[in-house]
Amino acid sequence: MLSRRIIPCLDVADGKVVKGVQFKNHEIVGEIVDLAQRYVDEGADELVFYHITASADRQTVNLDWVDAVAQRLDIPFCVAGGIRSVADAAARLEAGADKISINSPALENPDFIDEMVAAFGSQCIVIGIDSLEVDGQYQVKQYTGRPDKMQDSRRDTLTWAKEAVERGAGEIVLNCMNQDGVRQGYDIRQLAAVRDGVSVPLIASGGAGTMQHFKDVFEQADVDGALAASVFHKKIIDIPELKAWLRDQGQPMRI
């Protein structure tokens, strides 16, 4: 049976792993390769690295750490941040990334999704969506790595998720910004709506605070994976304990 995935997310800025609260006020939490290895040893199913300043700064990710991570890791990992061309993506895949996640550049130019899918196949093209609830509507935000540059993309979240899948995206990571970093639980209602609307794997992001939150999002929103950062970085939740508990609760888990 296909297991649910537990996915630590490492936000990367200036060559270190950082974490902010609702995308602001970043603090350094550790070295990239060391933290990545720790998560592999603990049984993480996959890792995501977000270079969170990249799109707004028009920088691209430095590839040395991608190569260093690929040398050490024997589980899949996804790289995100400022990937603006097929060549940018090819360089990261060649350095050992297994998937490429695109966010702001796809909003600027949706055809970019089709180009990426044609070049590399759906299986390695992930669309990251930063969604904010405003007056009961879910809106896609752009350039979320820098609060001073963040803007409304003028897109509805579910509509955009469906369009991304129609263009060939192989997976959606939905980051519910109202919940991000505040550990009050995943946005079940929003995730369930997107789950019903798209047929590709869906990864929940934003809001994990307790083990119960993981159980809730798997049971109630039927997501394929749950992503979290601070609860793992700060050892508030222990991954082996989480996976064993979820298995006891009836969730298929790779132990």
Binding site: R5, D45, D74, I75, Q123, G170, S199, D224, G225
Partner: protein
């Protein structure tokens, strides 16, 4: 030290495979040179992307004749395995025809996302040396939308709404639909089994 030819047709993400082999302590020769391929102790044929696109890259790289002539253990991974087969519902091109079967597409359904992406369980069949020491239910990492149906050559199945071929062997050609290079300790064991053939 044995030398493994890792076929580089330009269509695949080979860094992960290369690093996984280096962790096994073998010499890895990333190559599209027919001479280097036919003289290697083992051959690995990776593949990602779409069937026709990847096959075209393989044909352009000039490795097809060398691959047909191989008698040493050869392992196709993911789309690499499917390209060794006769064809795929994904494309118009003929596969290399070195193993039997045609890839079919998963139909998405409630509770079954397509692509099949993530960790799923192996059910080894028979006693092929590639699956030595792999327990029924062991998890490996898959990412694919097309699959080969079970056949007499299947050495491990996986279930995703229906049983499909997770690994197979026909003569000196082995194939894994999953990615052993991304499958943690279970994947490392399977690569180690392959290198011990």
């Amino acid at each position: 030290m044995q030398r493994v030819a890792l076929i580089n047709s330009g269509c695949a993400n080979i860094a992960s495979v290369r690093y996984a082999l280096l962790r096994q302590g073998v010499e890895v020769d990333v190559t599209a040179d027919p001479e280097r391929i036919t003289s290697a102790d083992k051959v690995i044929f990776p593949g990602v992307g779409s069937f026709d696109y990847a096959l075209e890259a393989v044909q352009k790289s000039g490795v097809v004749e060398a691959m047909r002539s191989l008698s040493q253990p050869t392992l196709g991974i993911c789309l690499g395995m499917q390209m060794l087969a006769e064809g795929s519902a994904e494309g118009q091109k003929q596969g290399l025809g070195l193993i039997q079967g045609r890839a079919q597409r998963f139909v998405d359904a409630p509770g079954r996302s397509v692509p099949h992406m993530g960790w799923n369980q192996l059910n080894p069949q028979g006693d092929d040396p590639l699956m030595r020491g792999i327990e029924p239910g062991a998890y490996v990492y898959f990412v694919h939308s097309f699959y080969l149906p079970p056949s007499p050559y299947t050495i491990a199945t996986c279930d995703y709404g229906l049983p499909f071929t997770a690994a197979l062997r026909q003569d000196n050609f082995w194939g894994c639909q999953f990615h052993p290079e991304l499958s943690a300790q279970v994947g490392a064991k399977i690569l180690s089994n392959f290198l011990a053939l």
